[in-house]
């Protein structure tokens, strides 16, 4: 089937020499001949060897920087988007693009005064534009700087698909989620070993009738307790959050609260109690404690959150602004915050992403190497990072 004018005109060129050379054919021919030439350059153009986010500036915008794999395992036990994890496995390296929203956030963080109450940043944007990746970039920066990172990979996981709901022993009308809490505690432990030894508890906590944690014990013990006794995992999470919050203003460490999908905390849940009545988010221990963390009544750190429509419940797919996704309750709770919009790829960013795929030989189709193929990809993906990623997969 006749897919392109180029092929037809090239064929007709071979047949009759006197025919008028079409400009498109000329471009096509020239691009075919010149694609061998810039083979060495793309590496230099699209990548940057600066792997410390602290040193990223506008100069590095649009470029990809490498995170060593051990660091990835240490800093991001959870939190990276699933497709990105697959990409890391395929390419055997983790390359994150430096984009303007992330640079903006980093600039704010660098310039923020930690004596003041924590500033809240809300990253929002349409689906698949890179909000979670921006968050991960910021998390990487903070962990490099030595902050204590409280990273909740997806708050939506806590408000839906929970198999076990236990009634909380601490407060009668709250519900515990042992599984989710224990999973999170495990990941938290692996990423913040150092701090768990340094931070000491300030109160005595009773776990049930026999067990208790004394005052002055390292926080690691609380985490162990939560992992060992799964029933009290949610309470352990609550204790951890509380201790960290109380001690952050002392200044011995900086705290970053990174929550992905913060709109889950104020929406509806899809969980039901045993009498089939719907559960509202306040009734969940984890959500309740997290809400306390996200309030700006503490100082010595920052709160970076992302809105996410993808996992959200009962929200239309076209909703992406804070107003729509947080609802009135959430908006009032988070207000005031600094909104950070994340757009689709700019032409430069698109070029570098495309160049990266080409260089890693991810785009195997022969047409993908041509200018036309690039234009086609740009059109079909609408410069949306997720769409581009999905498109480039089968090619």
């Amino acid at each position: 089937m006749l897919r392109s004018l180029q092929g037809l005109v090239c064929r007709s060129l071979k047949l009759d020499h006197g025919c008028v050379l079409h400009t498109a054919a000329r471009d096509g021919l020239s691009s075919v001949s010149s694609q061998d030439v810039p083979a060495e350059n793309p590496r230099a153009v699209f990548h940057t060897s600066e792997s410390d986010p602290a040193k990223h500036t506008e100069q590095h915008e649009g470029r990809l920087y490498n995170i060593p794999l051990e660091e990835v395992k240490a800093v991001f036990p959870h939190g990276l988007p699933y497709r990105f994890q697959q990409q890391i496995q395929t390419f055997n390296e983790a390359r994150v693009m430096v984009r303007k929203p992330a640079l903006e956030l980093l600039a704010y963080l660098k310039g923020s005064n930690f004596a003041h109450p924590a500033v809240r940043y809300v990253i929002y944007g349409e689906r698949g534009t890179g909000k979670t990746m921006t968050l991960c970039h910021v998390v990487h920066y903070c962990s490099r700087q030595g902050w204590l990172v409280l990273h909740i990979p997806d708050a939506h996981l806590w408000v839906k698909n929970c198999k076990e709901l236990l009634q909380s022993s601490y407060k009668k009308d709250r519900l515990d989620q042992p599984l989710q809490a224990s999973v999170w505690l495990k990941n938290f432990k692996s990423s913040n070993e150092r701090f768990l030894q340094e931070i000491k508890t300030q109160k005595k906590y009773m776990w049930g009738k026999q067990e208790s944690t004394e005052e002055g014990r390292p926080l690691g013990e609380v985490v162990e307790q939560g992992l060992a006794r799964v029933r009290s995992a949610s309470d352990a999470v609550g204790v951890v959050l509380r201790e960290i919050k109380q001690q952050s203003h002392r200044g011995s460490f900086r705290l970053l609260v990174a929550v992905d999908g913060v709109n889950a905390l104020w929406g509806r849940t899809s969980l039901r109690k045993e009498d089939k009545s719907p559960v509202s988010p306040e009734e969940l221990t984890l959500v309740h404690n997290l809400r306390k963390m996200v309030r700006n009544d503490w100082s010595g750190g920052a709160i970076v959150t992302t809105l996410s429509q993808t996992g959200s419940l009962f929200k239309p797919s076209s909703a992406y602004t804070p107003q729509e996704l947080l609802g009135k309750e959430g908006f009032d709770a988070l207000d005031p915050f600094v909104p950070i919009p994340v757009p689709n790829y700019s032409p430069r960013e698109f070029e570098s992403c495309y160049g990266y795929y080409l260089e890693r030989k991810w785009l195997q189709h022969e047409k993908a190497h041509t200018e036309d193929g690039k234009a086609e990809l740009r059109f079909l993906s609408g410069s949306n990072p997720r769409q581009l990623d999905r498109l480039a997969g089968p090619l």
Binding site: L2, R3, D27, E126, E376, F379
Partner: protein
């Protein structure tokens, strides 16, 4: 006077309806399938199928009745019976007998009997049983007589040619315009001769005609040859390509419309663009989440190699997701014609970008579950 005219009217009506029924029931029933070829090519010739079904006297009577009916109809409509043409008759019948039937040939109709009743072969032998034509016993008398005639003409032309050569006069070399004409088809020839012929016979005749035409002095028999040739209808009407319009900012733009199934779309393509496309005010990434639809939109631009060069604003309504995508594709292709050379327009047409997709949902038939699916067949 009133009673008489009423009786006359009733008689005229009866005549018309009878004509209409006969038309449907007679062996000359002609069915046309919806394929885009000329009707001449498709028609079956049933006139030569068998011996006479209508006697001459009968046909004469029908003609008289038709003429009488025509005058009555003219009277009824208040027009002059002398100058009542066939078109007037058609209009009058459509007015008097409005019909909602889709098939035009099923509607009431009043035409001259020679059009209604197919030509019949007259009895070809006399009262003593002796045939009139000398070639009757060949079985295909009209065909062979035609071949004889044509060959006679050929010999004539050759004789004339020899004479000219003998006199050393130049042979006329005006070529007939073969491009604009075609020979009669087999069916048309059969109709003309009122006799069935086989494919071989037909091809022999055509070869003889071509041989005749190939001779230099063939214009001698031009009139004879013209009896067997037909003008091919004019080339596809030249579709007017609108010139570019310019809006307030000075940017060139052009509009196009397209339809597919039940969706209809209008597209406005602007020059000097970045490849942004908006549908009903929404970006295409949000309006068409499915890749297939976006590929359909991409196709015209990709074909012309103008992916990032134009902006487009479209409105679309009706149909489903795929139909809307197809409609916008057609609309954008039509709009792009104004930006592009004629040769490229021809390429686009050949690629099928400018053709309206005729496929629509087929009607469900009674006695079946769907358009094609039959009910489950049960043996007992």
């Amino acid at each position: 006077m009133g009673g008489r005219s009423a009786a006359v009217m009733a008689a005229a009506v009866g005549r018309v309806l009878r004509l209409c029924r006969r038309w449907g029931a007679g062996p000359g029933a002609q069915t046309l399938r919806l394929i885009c070829t000329t009707t001449a090519v498709q028609r079956k010739n049933a006139g030569a199928s068998g011996p006479e079904k209508y006697t001459e006297a009968f046909i004469k009577k029908q003609i008289e009745e038709f003429n009488l009916g025509k005058r009555h109809l003219a009277n009824m409509m208040g027009e002059d019976p002398e100058t009542f043409t066939q078109e007037d008759i058609d209009r009058a019948i459509a007015y008097l007998f409005p019909s909602g039937l889709f098939d035009k040939q099923a509607r009431p109709l009043m035409k001259h009997p020679t059009e209604v009743f197919p030509e019949q072969r007259k009895i070809q032998w006399g009262e003593d049983g002796r045939p009139f034509h000398f070639l009757f016993y060949t079985g295909k008398q009209s065909y062979y007589s035609l071949m004889h005639e044509t060959y006679e003409k050929l010999l004539n032309v050759q004789k004339h040619q020899d004479e000219l050569i003998a006199q050393d006069l130049p042979l006329q070399k005006e070529k007939r315009n073969l491009a604009g004409s075609r020979w009669l088809t087999k069916i048309e020839l059969e109709e003309m001769l009122v006799e069935k012929m086989s494919d071989d016979d037909y091809s022999r005749f055509i070869r003889l005609l071509e041989k005749l035409v190939a001779l230099p002095c063939a214009d001698l028999e031009e009139k004879y040859i013209q009896k067997f040739s037909k003008e091919v209808p004019a080339q596809l009407q030249k579709v007017l390509i609108e010139p570019l319009q310019y809006d307030e900012r000075g940017v060139a733009f052009s509009t196009g419309e397209g339809r597919r199934k039940t969706a209809s779309a209008t597209a406005v393509v602007y020059d000097n663009g970045t490849g942004k496309i908006t549908v009903n005010g929404i970006d295409i990434l949000h309006y068409f989440p499915v890749l297939q639809d976006r590929e359909q939109l991409l196709f015209p631009f990709q074909f012309l190699g103008r992916i990032g060069k134009h902006d487009m604003v479209c409105t679309v309504s009706g149909g489903g997701r795929s139909a809307q995508a197809g409609a916008i594709r057609l609309a954008s292709a039509k709009a792009l014609r104004s930006f592009v050379t004629e040769k490229e327009v021809e390429f686009m047409r050949q690629a099928g970008l400018l053709t309206v997709d005729p496929r629509v949902k087929e009607r469900k038939k009674p006695g079946q579950e769907g358009p094609r699916r039959k009910f489950t067949w049960k043996k007992r």
